[in-house]
Subunit: 390 residues, 2 copies
Amino acid sequence: MTEIIVSALGKIILHGEHSVVYGRSAIACSLNIRTYLKLSQTKDERVSLVFPDIDLTQSWSLEEVNSIQFSQGCEILNPNPPTEDVIKQLKKIAGSGATEINNTASIVFLYIYLSLCKNRKQGIELKVKSELPIGAGLGSSAGFSVCLSSAFLILTGNVSAPGSDNIWKSDDLELINKWAFMGETLNHGTPSGIDNSIATYGKAIKLKSGTVHKLDKIPNLRILLINTKIPRCTKDLVAGVRRKYEMYEGIITPVLNSMEAIVSRCEAVLSDMTGNHCDVTSCYKKLQDLIDMNHDLLRFLGVSHPSLESVCKTCQQYGLHCKLTGAGGGGCAFCLISPETTEETLQTVEIELKKQNFECWETSVGGNGVMCHDPACGTTSSIPDFLKTT
Amino acid sequence: MTEIIVSALGKIILHGEHSVVYGRSAIACSLNIRTYLKLSQTKDERVSLVFPDIDLTQSWSLEEVNSIQFSQGCEILNPNPPTEDVIKQLKKIAGSGATEINNTASIVFLYIYLSLCKNRKQGIELKVKSELPIGAGLGSSAGFSVCLSSAFLILTGNVSAPGSDNIWKSDDLELINKWAFMGETLNHGTPSGIDNSIATYGKAIKLKSGTVHKLDKIPNLRILLINTKIPRCTKDLVAGVRRKYEMYEGIITPVLNSMEAIVSRCEAVLSDMTGNHCDVTSCYKKLQDLIDMNHDLLRFLGVSHPSLESVCKTCQQYGLHCKLTGAGGGGCAFCLISPETTEETLQTVEIELKKQNFECWETSVGGNGVMCHDPACGTTSSIPDFLKTT
């Protein structure tokens, strides 16, 4: 095998952002905007990482990379987070890129490479293409980590690449997810594990008080994802809600309970939609109501933004239902596309939103997770041109 | 005495509209936009009512009016609502005016007049001027009823007109309020009694499950009242919330609890503001937060309107805090004017709002109730020119 192409999903929070911080549930969904990675074995004795979306092109000699001492050993089936000493050595050879995202990507790459491929004699080159906006709360870093771990685990024979049906063995998915979590740890310190789980398994996840519960019974829902491109700081937004909570606990607590009830109701509706006797129109109506209600409650918590209000207002003018997703204060919103939404409406809304300088993607949530695109099986049709073998 | 001039207040709901329907508390405040009434004794044998704001000019001969049979008797200290038979007779002689508001005003007038002044020999003329928009949920009908009852009760010697200090005997206020409630019954069928109580006593009232609790410890707060002039139907709005409640009880109930907590917190802050050790800035900040939060929860209930959102957005752009008041779906909103709001800001906001075709009043809430304007005491300065004796 000289080439491995894999891809992983992004994620959005359907409901429960912010309330999850106070022990209520959240539902995160896979977002069918993918990060792609092509691993090629090369004849030179180098490892190279090319990730144009973050302006990253780095290359190291095998000798340099293999010089790092992994004192912790390397248990492939039970990965441990890197020690401080390893991180220090990784940082040293990662060099100093233009941005922090840049450096972190190199460190994650080197860590997973060394953990799984240390002392290989053959050079490799990795090309990465993310269709997700980077750092917009859509799980781009988890997508990158899942791609890295699946590609290296396939390369080293630790997991089997699935066939064109894209059905992986469950142990293999578990292992990919564990390694991706290591990458996320390097990225975020103490990640929740949601992003890598979604990128690996797809579908949806319910999270409550740190416990992750997979939701397999969820339909594929079409959405319009809108990026306001307003940068926001999650930490500041979370802190703002905390101040409000401390000042008005008696007023905020019931609203958090209402958000919890929205999550439960949403879970029930999604499950209904995968059943045989589902009234599609009524289910979509409920999902739309839940979206409207939760957006207003998030606004109540103070995490909306004029740009997000503009997005919602524009969508509402065309009968669509929209909420912010993630931390708020800018960032992204999504709008549910129901079977009754005409293509004409959708196009008009997109034009209106783009006029306001927002970015839009027509995509879906709730799809399957990590994929292996085997050129032999013709599953490469969807991969970006940049990664196609010429 | 040949002339009596009285005036009564309007009201706004500070917090608790809609949630009050579900057994939570509401706070209603007196609104210093008054309804004025001048009663003059005349030499003709007629009773006349001139109320230009509703295009009403009616006149009846004393003979015609006195022909109505009050089979129920007439206990001045314990008024009873009119019987069906009396209402029928009143409707007959009230005639058919151009509008329902018009007819009802005549009926209320005739009922209170006959109950208190039946068989008087001297003619009277009543001129009424309401500075409140009629039918906008600001208690204009209660203001009219309070003016009628206080004027007739003074005329007949059943209550004593207060001096220039405007301090009424509490029994007198109680009696005025009882008669005003009769007027409201003719107007609204089964009124809550809030509007007439506020118009009579001023200050504020807390209502919960039908129980009225007077709030005397409240400061005079400056507000900007904004009328969107969008007509709305309270009944439909209440029914819309009911449907939502029935569909999503688990989600709506905690929000109603949050609204209850907003009312409690507001009551506590208002009480603090009348104390000696009040941090004015901090109290206003809290009142502003409560206004913002409650508006978002009302929006969540689905009772906002694009016009109300425009009002709030415009106010927010100038750092002011605004919520809808009353049933929503159009109607009125108010904006708190804090000591830190500059006159320049206020003027700019008003210009912006008027550009959008909204009506604005700079006024106050929490003031005293019914007033008697005694020309001898020079308290007539504030009364409208229309009522001044030439």
